[in-house]
Structure formats: structure tokens, C-alpha cells
Homo-oligomer: 370 residues x 2
């Protein structure tokens, strides 16, 4: 089944670019455009959990071929109000980048803290193939990533108990994704914002997942097998301490990632097996900031490609120090681009780049019809 | 007159973001979108030379306040067929980036070698303000930049003679820009592609500029005051040698910029005053590649902000080693965004980022209406 899915992706890769030759010398290369309304419509048509499963399959495929990618830590510009980032990567055929911001105070004016825009391009000619809002898609791929790690790194004899610390914009997506991949039975949760907890509880109940509200992060940790942190923690916070944890737990630290922000204590990190996406970026932005440079980490792609056990001993703590890496957006954009071929009505077709009679005559093409 | 223009920009800066509150709690932040057709329509409505003058004014303003920007060399991913680049920068209020490719073989399949997409965002909340095709706009800002440098760095007793070596996609834009700012009388030109020369000649004649076709680059150099190179030169080429030049000439090396590509001989560079946009990037991509690391260069922004003379002696050669820097795209995008306020029909208004009732409830906003 999995083999078949991978095969579809590989065949698809052979013709990534839709080029229409109108019969004249005029070459038109079309691009698909999707704003947030169109993305929402497509997710609703496909179904969120179907989409999550497709993204997980694609993530598995892309992490397996890690060395096929050109990678770099993201480019960030810092402002007193937030951060503005570019996350590019490429394989031999396709190139992608995401522009994403993080502005914690946006909620005060009714705006999202995180919004994103993504572009997928053909490496061979550089032309854009797809340009879209990625705000929801960022939540989807982050949740898919966490669920995939939970699927294989949760403690062996778990009882399907998930802890969610921080029930903001991202939290319900994670529960939906975990439920898609893992036998989730009950969700323990807490937040400092009661309204955010009410909303989260309502969403989780529509998923048919039992939920238990907690007063403290420690109470969540004591009740579950897997902990997910999703907070906008302030400077070098330590929301989880060693004394809060039980043996063998998996902690997915998803929230609060930028230089100066952490969620776990240095002691938790130093006593855990730490899984990372792309170490050079995680050292700058992740929980690893609280640790010495020499602290060993395990690259996700190496662990899944090898026979390295995720735990040496069943009681080991495992931390997935997730900061969000460009390949995850690449995977998401490829899934979306593939879906558009089945749902062409969901996107707008644009002549984004100028179509020209003669590619050396850009000036003439501008003046025609003036 | 100039003071007044700058003032308009600064007042405009105070409210860069169009936020509409629909009366309910729903916050909508709109974004302008322009594909290549819309950009073309706007340029035709405004007039190319009017646009060029506005871009030059904005470039002068932005280069004068160089230290206000967060800057970095561009992010490049290399592929056997070309290069894919991201060029971000920001001041305290606005952020911009351009995605641009360079694929020399695209012309063989009727496609452009260089296409570009740009985004302008509000630094304060990170939301995109404008997303547009920048293929023509890249040609416009490159030409505006060259014309501005020619305006103040041409030899003092010039006779309005411009030399153009390489008459491809960019060349006619440069002549149009130079004519807008400088008393251009005659244009000497050459290319290895006769058809490209025919087209260039036709465009230049519509501008009312006299033109003279040459057989060699040396012949062009011997006939003019200012030389512009616009070639897709192969590895470490030396299209211009010292023996081709006359005293006091200005050479604007605009073409062929990426690691491994140059247009001027190392001797020309070493004997000239070299002007650069952003030295860390020019050392990687520019003509400077042919020179030792310690070879002195002059940053454009320092020269225009100070009393440094562009030449110590009237016979000095001056080379503008232009590679194209992110601030130039920032300037271009701000001019475009300003123009859209006067020509709102030229762009599409989009709800690009999801509008939400509650910014902490991204999941709920996705599920509404499903």
C-alpha cells in the first residue's frame, strides 16, 4: 500500500510543469494560485484527515530521501513585534519556499500570530508552478509531522493518552492528526487562557475524543504517554521540569521556536534522547538553545533510515525538538499541487510570468498593445 | 521638488497596511495581487519613463538611508540548468523579498531566462500587502539603477554617447532609463545574436535615439563615454580588456552575475574605481570574483552620502559592478504599492491570509461552512 503511494509520487515527478503551447510561437506557462478561501474549500472537499494522511505519506517519502535535498537554516529578519522568515529548499526537480511570520501580539488586534505564503517552482526552468496561502497548511504539516513522530516514538506500552499544553491556534490540528495515525483515547490539556481551552474542548469533542481539563502542566504530564507543547512561551521558559515527567514519555516540543524561546528545562533536554529535523536550524531556534553545543542529538531522517532504536531503554525520555523545517513545507506543497490536478476547480490558473513571442524581447512584449 | 517627493513617501509610511473592520469581530486584512498582465497594464497606464523616474527617486531615498535596512546576501540554490534565488530585506516598517531565477537555456524553449515574483509585507504584523510578478519590474529597477549611476558617474565632459554590449531582454529598458535621466544622443551597440540586435535597434528608434551597430565590443568601447554590459557571459569571460577603453570611461557591468560569471578582465577591475551595491554579495557574484579579496571597493551608498569624489582624476575608469540587491526590489515594490493606491483597478484585492473571528481558533475558522 505504502509502496504504491510512493510510486505515484515518483511518476508524477517526471512531469511537474504544465506547459501549454498555444500553436503560435507564444509560450504560456501557467501557475496555480490559491488564496485562503480556496485552500479552505479544497481541504473541506478532500477532508482534513485524508489530507493529513497524504501529508504524512509524503513526509515519510521525503525524509527517506533526505540527501536528495539542498538544505539551509531559514533566513530570519527580526523586528520588535515579531519575526519574518524565508524557508527554501529543493530537490533535483522542484524548488519551494515559504514566507512565514511570527507576531505574538497580533491576537490583540484580532489577527493571526502566524500567517504563511508558499511557492513551488520547477527547478529546470525556475518558473513558479503554485503560489498559495499556507496559513492553514502550516498548521496541517506541523500536526502531520508531530503525529508521524508520535506514531513510531510513543512509549511501547502506551494507553493512547495525549497531553496538550497550550491550546491555541495549532492544538486542534495536532489532535486531529494524532487521531488519524495513532489509537488516541483521551486528551489531557491545559492553557493559561480559559477561552482557548473552551474552544479546544469543543473541537476535540466533535472528533469523538474524550478530553480532560487540567490546572497545571505537571498534572497533564503525570496523566499521559505523550506530551505536546504548543505554547508561545516567553524568554527561556521551562514549562516542563524533570519532576513532572514519568519514565518513557515522548515529548513533542512544537511551540515557541525562535532564538530566546524555549519550553523545556535544560535538565529535561540533557536527560532525553533528542530528535531534530535539521540540526543547524534547531541549534539556533529549538529547545537545544538551553543545552551545551556538544549535546548529542539524533536526526530524524537518520533514525528512520537506520536501525537506531529510538530508546536504548524503555524508560528513556524522547524529545522531538521540532522547529519546523523547509522540507516539511516542500512535502505539503507537493501534496497540494498533486491534489489540484484532481480538483482543478479549487485553484485559479494564472499567466503569472509574462508570455512572450521572443524571450529576448521582454521590452517588445511590454509595449505590445500600448 | 525632490524634498517634496521624499516627504510623500515618509507620510505614506505611517499607514502601510489597509485593514478593514467589517463591523463584526471579523478582521480582514487585504492584500493586492498583480499578475504579469496587470503589471503590464499599470506600466502602460503610468508610462514607462514616468515609472522609471519614480523608481530612481525612491532608490535615491532608500540608498540615502542605507543603515535603516536589515540586509543580507541573497539565498541561492544552484541547479545544473540555473539558479533560484531569494532576496529579502526590511526597514523598520516594511519587509520585502523577491524570488528570481536565472536559467540561460530557457530561451531555447521560448521561455524567459529570468522571471521574478515579489512580496511586500507589513513588518509590524507580518501580513502580506502586495504579491506580484516582478519580471518586467526587475528589468525596470535594474535599468533605473544603472541610469541613476550614469547620471552622476559619467565622465564630466561626456557627449551623450552610450555603449550597449549585449542587446538581450534587458537592453532596451536600460536605454529608456538612461534617456529619462541623461542627455543621451547616440547608442553604439553589439551582440553576437543578429536578431537581438535588429529588435534592439527597432526599439531604440521608437525612443528617438540614434543608434550605431558595431562589429566588436572594442569598437563600442572606443566610440562612447559610458559602457553598459548586459551579456549572459560564459565562465569568467573577459569581454572588455584595458586596451579597449578610453580614459575616464564609466563601465556599468550589469549582466552575467553569479559565481563563476564575469564580463570584465581582472586588469580592468584592478585599474578602476569599483562601485558596489552590497559588498558581501558582490564579492560572491560580481566582477570582483576575478580580483583579490583586498581590492578596494566603494559602496554606492557611502559615495552618495559623503563628499568622496567618484574619480580622483578625470581619466580614472569607474566600474559599477552591479549584481542587483534586495533594497532595489524593496524600492520597486514600494513604488508599485504607492501607485496601486492611485490605480486600484490595476490590481486584484484578495483575502489572502484567513480572516478569523478569533485568532486563536484557526481550526474553527477552517471548519466553518464545511
Amino acid at each position: 500500500m505504502k509502496g504504491k503511494r510512493l510510486c505515484v509520487f515518483m511518476v508524477f515527478f517526471l512531469e511537474p510543469c504544465t506547459i501549454m503551447d498555444s500553436g503560435s510561437a507564444l509560450r504560456q506557462v501557467i501557475m496555480w494560485l490559491m488564496d485562503s478561501h480556496q485552500v479552505k474549500q479544497l481541504i473541506q472537499s478532500v477532508g482534513l484527515n485524508v489530507l493529513i494522511q497524504q501529508v504524512v505519506d509524503r513526509l515519510k517519502f521525503d525524509f527517506q530521501r533526505w540527501s536528495s535535498f539542498q538544505k539551509s537554516a531559514r533566513h530570519a529578519i527580526y523586528h520588535p513585534k515579531g519575526v519574518l522568515e524565508l524557508m527554501p529548499c529543493a530537490d533535483d526537480t522542484l524548488y519551494s519556499f515559504k514566507y512565514v511570520n511570527g507576531h505574538p501580539e497580533n491576537t490583540h488586534s484580532g489577527q493571526l500570530c502566524v500567517a504563511a505564503t508558499g511557492l513551488l517552482a520547477n527547478q529546470v526552468d525556475g518558473y513558479p508552478l503554485l503560489l498559495c496561502d499556507m496559513t492553514w497548511l502550516t498548521a496541517v504539516r506541523t500536526a502531520a509531522m508531530a503525529a508521524w513522530v508520535i506514531e513510531w516514538a510513543a512509549p511501547e506500552h502506551h494507553q493512547g493518552r495525549l497531553g496538550v499544553i497550550g491550546t491555541g491556534a495549532q492544538a486542534a490540528f495536532v489532535v486531529e492528526a494524532v487521531k488519524t495515525l495513532w489509537p488516541l483515547k483521551v486528551c489531557y490539556y491545559m492553557d493559561i487562557d480559559r477561552q482557548a481551552m473552551d474552544q479546544f474542548e469543543a473541537h476535540v469533542s466533535t472528533m469523538g475524543v474524550q478530553s480532560v481539563r487540567c490546572e497545571t502542566a505537571a498534572q497533564v504530564c503525570q496523566s499521559v504517554d505523550v506530551i505536546v507543547t504548543l505554547t508561545a512561551a516567553k524568554k527561556h521558559a521551562s514549562i516542563i521540569q524533570c519532576c513532572d515527567l514519568k519514565p518513557g514519555q515522548l515529548i513533542c516540543a512544537l511551540g515557541g521556536d525562535c532564538p530566546g524561546k524555549t519550553e523545556l528545562s535544560a535538565e529535561v533536554i540533557s536527560k532525553s534522547r533528542v530528535l531534530v529535523e535539521y540540526e543547524p536550524q534547531t541549534r539556533i531556534e529549538g529547545e537545544l538553545q538551553n543545552c551545551p553545543q556538544h549535546h548529542d542529538v539524533f536526526a530524524l531522517h537518520e533514525v528512520i533510515q537506520s536501525s537506531i532504536p529510538v530508546r536504548e531503554h524503555p524508560d528513556d525520555w524522547v524529545v522531538f525538538d521540532s522547529v519546523g523545517f523547509a522540507i516539511e513545507d516542500f512535502s505539503m506543497l507537493v501534496v497540494l499541487y498533486t491534489l489540484i490536478q484532481s480538483y482543478p476547480e479549487s485553484a485559479t490558473v494564472l499567466d503569472w510570468v509574462p508570455s512572450v513571442q521572443d524571450p529576448k524581447d521582454l521590452y517588445g512584449a511590454l509595449m505590445v498593445g500600448s
